[in-house]
């Protein structure tokens, strides 16, 4: 799929809100976090979900800004396409920005005892799931999606 601007934004929001939510729900309980502030892992779980969902929300929201930048870069390409290597690279810059924002503005990670590795594991689990859904199964579910530059509606 070679995205248009609206297709990028729609696909990102749709996939983070579906695939992203499912992966977050599934992955969070298994992330490494210590129980310094809670007596059991079970009690620490709500705090962990707070962090992972905040990070997912940032992936979606900040992502819209990223999409504007990617779209601008895409204009420099003759084919007006967005090859996989570029798509893979974007995981790097996005993870850094989301992590910094979580540290500065999000719920204090030390409240829940979540180390950076937990954040990264969650981020890349979501990111890979979204990447692979967009690079295959989406074409099966929405047969016109690839002809519409990723637009869903």
């Amino acid at each position: 799929m070679t995205p248009t601007l609206s297709g990028r934004i729609q696909t990102r929001l749709a996939l983070t809100l579906t695939v992203g939510v499912v992966v977050t729900l599934m992955v969070t309980p298994f992330l490494p976090y210590n129980t310094y502030f809670s007596r059991t892992r079970h009690q620490a779980l709500p705090g962990a979900y707070l962090i992972t969902f905040a990070s997912l929300g940032l992936v979606a929201a900040v992502g819209v800004v990223w999409e504007l930048i990617y779209h601008g870069l895409q204009q420099l390409r003759w084919d007006k396409d967005w090859p996989s290597p570029l798509g893979i690279l974007t995981g790097l810059n996005e993870s850094i920005v989301v992590y910094v924002m979580i540290r500065w503005f999000g719920p204090r990670p030390h409240w829940t005892g979540m180390p950076p590795s937990a954040f990264l594991l969650h981020f890349y689990a979501v990111w890979l799931a979204v990447f692979f859904t967009a690079n295959g199964p989406m074409r099966v579910l929405l047969i016109r999606w690839r002809y519409r530059g990723g637009r869903i509606v």
Partner: protein, 542 residues
């Protein structure tokens, strides 16, 4: 300028054109080419009564697709997946299989079954979803991650991964069996399409096996007949007509193995004309033969337009190029299939489309590293020479070879004598050179776009062709110049098929392929099970 006047036609032998035998001979009007009862022959519109009186066998099928190639196949595939039964559709063409024509052209232009096409991994004519892609399937079959890694790193680190001809054919054969294409297909030549007085159309077919005629009475017609002929450069055609020599001057799309055989027996020189993907492949073959058989073939390559670097109207629209070639992975910029450029083209008016197509189109070749490396070596070796200019004339040289007189951009003349000339410039796109279109233009009142091809809507309906509640659709090369650029490609044909199927579903023919149907049908594809039989609510046209 009218392209038909510049180029001369050579018939594609046994091609999937509907009336190939008329090429070069027929005047293009129905009155001349078909020996029908005169009352039918004279009329633009036929009535049921006239047809039944004529004694012709009539078959009622709601939709007939004309061509029987990949365009027809793609439409039948979409419709069958949309729940249309085999009894409600027919496909007519002269080739035995939908992939015969492309295979023939590929083989002539030196692409074997195991060679790779210029086609994207997810352009899969045997799978309307494009998933799993060819690369994934090859990875699975070979138990190797290499194709997947290639797809994930292309085209920045690696060249685009492209499928082998055999993979595409095998998958189409599987899909043809699955959807029961063979029950839909009627091998024959469509001679005429006539409007039916009561609405819809009559399609007159001469069957290949029995040489008998049958008339289809249909509400919808789909025309996907491909190219009418091989296009030969006018100076080469004129040489052939004057000398009768079709041995030393050949077109890359014709079978021309004798050239390579002769060069293997005795050292010789070849002039290659053209700078598209076919020229690239012919050069590769010549160089491979030199390497593998230790030949001493000398190659001259004539560029009419030499592309020295990136070119385009603005920094945002500049196509890469180097060493004479305009570089592009596929025959259109990639986003023409479904991204930004597709959207931009759709939103433009006809004049704007012409302008944008002018920028986006043109002869290009994929910048494959192996090809580029070969040419670097060839230049260094001194046995590959690039020439720039236009040809004044081509004539036999004194020693029985071919002499090409060239004038360069500064007006300097030169003569080049070679053993062979290979024309790699292309296929005939002018629709009026196809007898069926010529007849439709004369009788059906169809409209043409500014490029001179069929004027179609975004649903690929041919404008000006409605007959009562009947509609004519078209896909493929004949529709270039409209809202979609990549019409002449696997995925372009699939896109057209999907749009047409959607339009038909709106008229009550088949179902629109929504999320549930798509998923269910995909699972059936994976399990190699036929599409579900028609649903209860399926409305089949009268």
């Amino acid at each position: 300028m009218n392209p038909a006047r510049i180029y001369t036609l050579v018939r594609i032998s046994g091609g999937n054109d509907v009336a190939g035998s008329m090429l070069g001979g027929g005047s293009g009007t129905s009155d001349v080419i078909v020996d029908l009862p005169s009352e039918l022959n004279r009329r633009v519109t036929w009535t049921d009564l006239e047809v039944s009186r004529s004694g012709l066998i009539v078959r009622d099928v709601p939709l007939v697709t004309v061509g029987g190639g990949i365009g027809s196949f793609a439409l039948i595939d979409s419709l069958r997946i949309g729940g249309v039964s085999v009894a409600a559709v027919a496909a007519v063409g002269t080739d035995e299989c939908p992939w015969d024509s492309i295979t023939r052209l590929a083989r002539a232009s030196q692409l074997g079954d195991d060679d790779r096409l210029r086609s994207d991994s997810s352009s899969t004519p045997g799978n309307i979803w494009g998933f799993p892609s060819y690369a994934l399937r090859e990875a699975w079959k070979r138990r190797s991650l290499a194709p997947v890694v290639n797809v994930l790193t292309e085209p920045i680190i690696t060249d685009f991964w492209t499928p082998r001809l055999s993979q595409v054919m095998d998958e189409m054969r599987r899909e043809a069996d699955r959807i029961n294409w063979w029950a839909v297909f009627d091998r024959g030549r469509v001679e005429l399409i006539r409007e039916r007085d009561e609405g819809g159309y009559f399609i007159l077919v001469r069957r290949c096996d029995t040489d008998t005629r049958v008339v289809y009475r249909s509400r919808w017609v789909h025309v996907a007949v491909g190219y009418s002929a091989i296009r030969m450069l006018p100076d080469l055609q004129s040489y052939r007509e004057r000398t009768g020599d079709a041995e030393r001057v050949v077109n890359a799309y014709e079978s021309h193995d004798h050239v390579y055989e002769s060069l293997a027996r005795r050292p010789g020189s070849v002039l290659v004309r053209g700078s598209g993907v076919v020229a690239s492949r012919i050069l590769e073959r010549l160089i491979d033969d030199r390497d593998e058989k230790g030949l001493d073939t000398r190659v001259h390559h004539l560029f009419r337009t030499y592309v020295g670097g990136s070119r385009g109207p603005s920094i945002m629209l500049r196509r890469p190029g180097a060493d004479g070639w305009a570089n592009q992975a596929f025959n259109w910029p990639k986003s023409c299939w479904g991204g930004e450029l597709k959207q931009r083209l759709e939103r433009l008016d006809p004049e704007g489309r012409m302008e944008l197509l002018g920028v986006l189109g043109g002869t290009t070749t994929p910048p494959r590293k192996s090809w580029q490396d070969q040419l670097v070596r060839a230049r260094e070796g001194g046995w590959y020479q690039e020439l720039i200019g236009t040809v004044v004339d081509v004539r036999p040289s004194g020693d029985g070879r071919v002499s090409t007189n060239i004038i360069d951009h500064d007006g300097a003349k030169s003569e080049l004598v070679s053993d062979f000339v290979i024309d790699c410039t292309g296929l005939e796109p002018a629709i009026e050179s196809h007898p069926l279109f010529a007849d439709m233009l004369a009788h059906a009142g169809i409209e043409r776009n500014p490029l001179g091809r069929l004027d179609v809507t975004e649903s690929f309906e041919v404008l000006g062709a409605r007959s009562g509640d009947g509609r004519i659709y078209a896909s493929g090369a004949a529709t270039l110049g409209g809202p979609y650029a990549a019409v002449d490609s696997f995925q372009g044909l699939q896109y057209a098929a999907l749009r047409i199927a959607d339009d038909l579903a709106e008229q009550g023919f088949g179902h629109r392929i929504g999320v549930r149907r798509s998923l269910r049908q995909w699972v059936r594809w994976v399990r190699d099970r036929p599409p579900e039989p028609a649903g209860r609510n399926e409305a089949v046209a009268p």
